[in-house]
């Protein structure tokens, strides 16, 4: 997965928000809220095209969690994000 470059992510208050910019902002007016882990994964998907497995590995490198939890977290997040026009 790779995130459409027409999105920006910023910390607002205690969480992160992602909103559309440029052309995409004309059709998508919503705001996606993410926690620290969500923002970490988002940034990985914005950098380059990654698989869920690569995201799990990245998560395991950064946070002290087991593979099973990481796999579940990544899958949940990716599925939740499919509701928005963010993947290329």
């Amino acid at each position: 997965m790779k995130i459409n470059q027409d999105f920006t992510i910023q910390k607002v208050g205690g969480s992160y928000v992602a909103v559309a910019v440029g052309e995409t902002s004309k059709s998508f007016h919503g705001m996606i809220r993410l926690n620290e882990t969500g923002a970490f994964l988002w940034k990985k998907m914005a950098e380059r095209d990654v698989t869920e497995e690569e995201l799990v590995d990245a998560l395991l490198e950064e946070y002290e969690i087991d593979r099973e939890t990481a796999t579940e977290d990544v899958h949940k997040m990716v599925e939740a994000l499919r509701a928005y026009p963010i993947f290329l």
Binding site: T8, Q10, K11, V12, G13, G14, S15, V17, V19, V21, G22, S25, K26, H29, M31, R33
Partner: protein, 232 residues
């Protein structure tokens, strides 16, 4: 072409139609503009597709949109809200269109001594160095045409909801962000959106947010004013 002062920024307006000159007359100023905006004929045509409005009116809407895309660079952003001023402080009410912002604004004018409308629809907010926020009147002030060329420190923001009984509560930061995002103009290029999000971050950290469930009785205005003005 003329210059107006908006939230302390001199803005040049290069217009085609006279409508906007009349609209902005209370905001005219001298001096050189920090930036100048103009609108193409195509944009005006595009805007007219949303309703049978005059070219001059549509030009004005497009011009304000362009101004609002420049403003975040100056620490200023647009919030869709009705802002009242009482005893030197500003209070903002925000809600999806049709909820009753105008009705609640009218209740304040009737019930709160010295209340006047700073802007009934599209005020500008400026985040100051110390994180506090100042509300500014603008020539774009909604269908009731409520507003003046004044400014005041913003004391609180209140999101309105319809309810049978009047009640008010504080909104935590997380709820404030979700509700606020719906009332900002988060469009345009990346730099503009990023600047606005940075301003929003400071805004939610310094200004208290409330949620008012209200009916259309006088008590609704008294409850919201007394609660929001009582804080230190």
């Amino acid at each position: 072409m003329f210059v107006i002062s908006l939230a302390g920024i001199r803005v040049g307006i290069d217009n085609r139609y006279p409508y906007i000159e009349q609209q902005c007359r209370a905001f005219r100023c001298d001096g050189e503009a920090e930036f100048t905006v103009s609108v193409s004929g195509d944009e005006i045509l595009e805007e007219q597709k949303f309703g049978a409005f005059s070219e001059g009116y549509c030009e004005s809407i497009c011009i304000y949109r362009h101004i609002c895309e420049q403003m975040p660079a100056y620490g200023v952003f647009l919030m869709h809200a009705s802002v009242l001023e009482v005893k030197g402080y500003a209070y903002a009410f925000s809600a999806p269109s049709g909820t009753g912002k105008s009705t609640h604004t009218a209740l304040w004018l009737k019930n709160i001594d010295g209340a006047r409308v700073l802007n009934g629809d599209k005020p500008l907010l400026r985040v100051e160095e110390d994180g506090s926020v100042t509300a500014f009147g603008t020539p774009w002030n909604g269908k009731e045409n409520w507003g003046e060329n004044i400014s005041a420190p913003l004391r609180a923001v209140c999101f309105l909801e319809r309810a049978k009984e009047n009640r008010i509560r504080r909104a935590d930061e997380s709820e404030a962000i979700v509700r606020l995002a719906q009332q900002l103009y988060l469009r345009g290029n990346r730099a503009c959106v990023n600047l606005q999000l940075a301003l929003m971050d400071r805004f939610v950290r310094t200004v208290p947010f409330y949620v008012l469930g209200c009916n259309i009785t006088d008590g609704a205005a008294r409850l919201s004013y007394e609660t929001m003005s009582a804080q230190i």
